[in-house]
Amino acid sequence: MTKDNRFDFSRRGLLKASAATGIVAATPSIFMRNAWAENFRNNPGDAGEVKLGFNVPQTGPYSEEGKDELRAFQLAVKHLNGEGDGGMLNTFKPSSLKGNGILGKKVTYATGDTQTKSDAARASAKRMIEKEKVLMISGGSSSGVAVAVQSLCQEEGIIFMAGLTHSNDTTGKDKRRYGFRHFFNAYMSGRALGPVLDKEYGKERRAYHLTADYNWGWTQEESMKNTTEELGWQTANTVKTPVGAGDFSQYITPVLNSGADVLILNHYGKDMINSLTQAVQFGLRDKQVNGKNFEIVVPLFSRLMAQGAGSAIKGILGSTNWNWSLQDDGSQAFVKSFGAEYGAPPSMAAHTCYVQTLLYANACEMAGTFYPPEVIKSLEGFKFDGMGNGPTEYRAEDHQCFKDVLVVRGNENPTSQFDLLKVVEQTPRSQVEYDWKIFGGELGPYKV
């Protein structure tokens, strides 16, 4: 499989794919498609280098996360090219990576600014595809952007390895054949939090939801509502809040006397920081309702974001994709090389981007080609370990990774400025798995 005979592979890929999708009628458009397969988009050919595109928010509210993602990408490229200490290359198994680039070609990259806007993200991705001739695009810090770029990549025939995106839609109703998500999703957050909420807060609770008024917020609210209601909790109210409201006081004061004893903040980013800070300011943490301590839950926690909320996060439960305090070999190796390079531990966004890059490279090695349909097939159903989160599988049906999910709590006594979250529970994969059919959507064809 290592012999680089492009022609051979693409022809075989074509045959396989034709069989798989069962294309029949011989129309001119099909004829065009054949031409595509012979020479797929941005085929590196005989070049000694391949280029990957890292599309991250560099301006706007998520630019700090974007910066961290970019660091992770740069580290991944280094490791792939055999520079540095190798990081997770040493712990990742089964690995076909050799530390000599991908398929012997040196890895280079292009960067772009998504601005956390679908339009800007797509423009930036198009630049990478049309001008920089990248083979794969990764990164991003919101589901809107992920869905937008993912569908673009499907049309352009470029593989998209999503960065931070937590909405169910990314691998649900908006899933695409060319898009892959390592990050967990809102549904999994809910499933993972369920048992911990049961254990910590009991079954007799009334929850009040404040939800960011857009797609991700809604899916998050739905997942949390289902989970908590399964536990026997009541839902006092669900209130949608405008994105970027800044001051949430008008949504928080009604919570005070609503009879609810748990506040669930389905917010992310700045909204989360502000609503959490303000909820604590309104004394919700010190409150007693129905003879129980009032609790706040933040379903999606990010350490980078938690910094912005300062001491307000102390004791707050939430879930996260990964945390640098994990003790497995993969996480340790990654934290070590990341910390040595940048003087700070990686965020979960950085982790997922790093892993995604390695996984893409590995899939190319496994397929022995850069031809996307073949690479996609290597990724689909791929099982691996040693990347943090324990044994992991890229489910073939929806391109969602299944792995352990962390339930974390804001640290009461942080020992360092990075020690903000404490892992309460590593919810095993089996508990967060679900039938891929529940979210609908269609992957679409291998060949475009």
Binding site: V239, S249, T253, I273, G283, A340, F418
Partner: protein, 338 residues
């Protein structure tokens, strides 16, 4: 009843923030005739005065962090706490109110430098160019702050004694359960003082009289041989300080980040115009009005009837007011009319 009372407080609190920002904006609008798109950035700079002061107080020595074993990490211990174990932490605790002392001279300086260095060349230029130059300036200020402080919000805490909630309900006989955070009450009172101060300054000092006259008819005041230019600098500095102080005091409510000014910019323009161009009282009135309306529109009971009304209420009210009252609530004819 409780809920409505709390929403009024919320509205007043929000309104106080809007009014403070709009006050400076309308002052600069009315007297200098400058459309200042950098005004939000001044609000943000005020907030970062607090952040810097906090940083200054907590200048720290780096102590190696032994808990991080995988790579060399450092944690910081403020010198103040090392040198003055008793007074140091108290001082740090009161960083926000104390940073007002820093913010006033810094904001005056920023206002002075901005007006002398840039704005004064644009008094006679078209509004379009004022917009472009102040918007450019706002971006530059933002990016400089971002380059130094990063893009993430930086949490600031109110002093410990103001951390809890006041049982305002028991003060007015609504019951113990009606509570409101002390800091927000402080903010409300503080805004009142500032607004009162600005009005008093304009009402009772000769400077103020000239400025008010200038708001009404700039050319005539110039013809009277009064050095209006020098007054402009002072007016601009006052506007800067008011915006800055609003920023300082808002930090415990909203962790400051480099972009917070832009978030308030559009809103404060709406407030100013709804209040009526050239009217300070109008801006304050509009600020409180929009704040309260917004709070009420966010109530579940209201949203149940009109879903999403809280998303648009400010703009909706603005449209209704501007279409019924040609010059906003208290605007005067001839100011920025054309």
């Amino acid at each position: 009843m409780d809920a409505i009372f709390l929403q009024i407080l919320n509205g007043l609190d929000k309104g106080a923030a809007y009014a403070l920002i709009a006050l400076g904006l309308t002052l600069v609008f009315g007297t200098l005739g400058i459309v200042n798109f950098a005004h939000g950035a001044l609000f943000m700079l005020g907030a970062f005065c607090a952040v810097s002061f906090n940083k200054l107080l907590t200048i720290s020595t780096k102590v190696e962090d032994k808990t991080v074993t995988l790579f060399k990490a450092y944690k910081e211990k403020p010198y103040l706490e090392i040198w003055f174990p008793d007074a140091g932490p108290v001082l740090i605790d009161f960083a926000i109110p104390l940073s007002i002392l820093l913010a006033i001279p810094v904001m005056i300086f920023i206002g002075y430098a901005m007006e002398r260095g840039l704005i004064k060349h644009f008094y006679k230029r078209p509004h379009a160019e004022q917009i472009l130059v102040t918007f450019g300036l706002a971006i530059v200020i933002q990016e400089v702050i971002k380059a130094y402080f990063g893009a993430n919000p930086i949490p600031q805490t109110a002093p410990d004694i103001l951390a809890g909630s006041a049982s305002v309900g028991s003060w007015i006989g609504l019951g113990e359960s009606v509570v409101y955070p002390w800091w927000r009450l402080v903010y409300l009172v503080f805004s009142g003082v500032i607004i009162f101060g600005v009005f008093a300054f304009l009402q009772f000092t000769t400077y103020g009289m000239v400025v008010r006259a200038g708001m009404r008819d700039r050319e005539t005041v110039g013809l009277l041989g009064i050095n209006i230019e020098k007054r402009f600098t002072i007016v601009f500095a006052i506007a800067t300080v008011v915006a800055g102080l609003a920023g300082v005091m808002y930090t415990p409510v909203l962790p400051p980040d480099y972009h917070m000014g832009m978030d308030f910019l559009v809103l404060s323009f709406v407030v100013v115009v709804v209040g009526g161009m050239g009217s300070l009282g109008g801006a304050v009135l509009a600020g409180f009005l929009l704040g309260i309306v917004q709070s009420f529109a966010s109530m579940t009971e209201v949203k149940a009837i009109l879903p999403g009304i809280d998303q648009i209420i400010i703009y909706l009210v603005a449209v209704v007011i501007l279409l019924t009252l040609p010059r906003g609530l208290m605007g005067r004819a001839g100011v920025m009319d054309d």
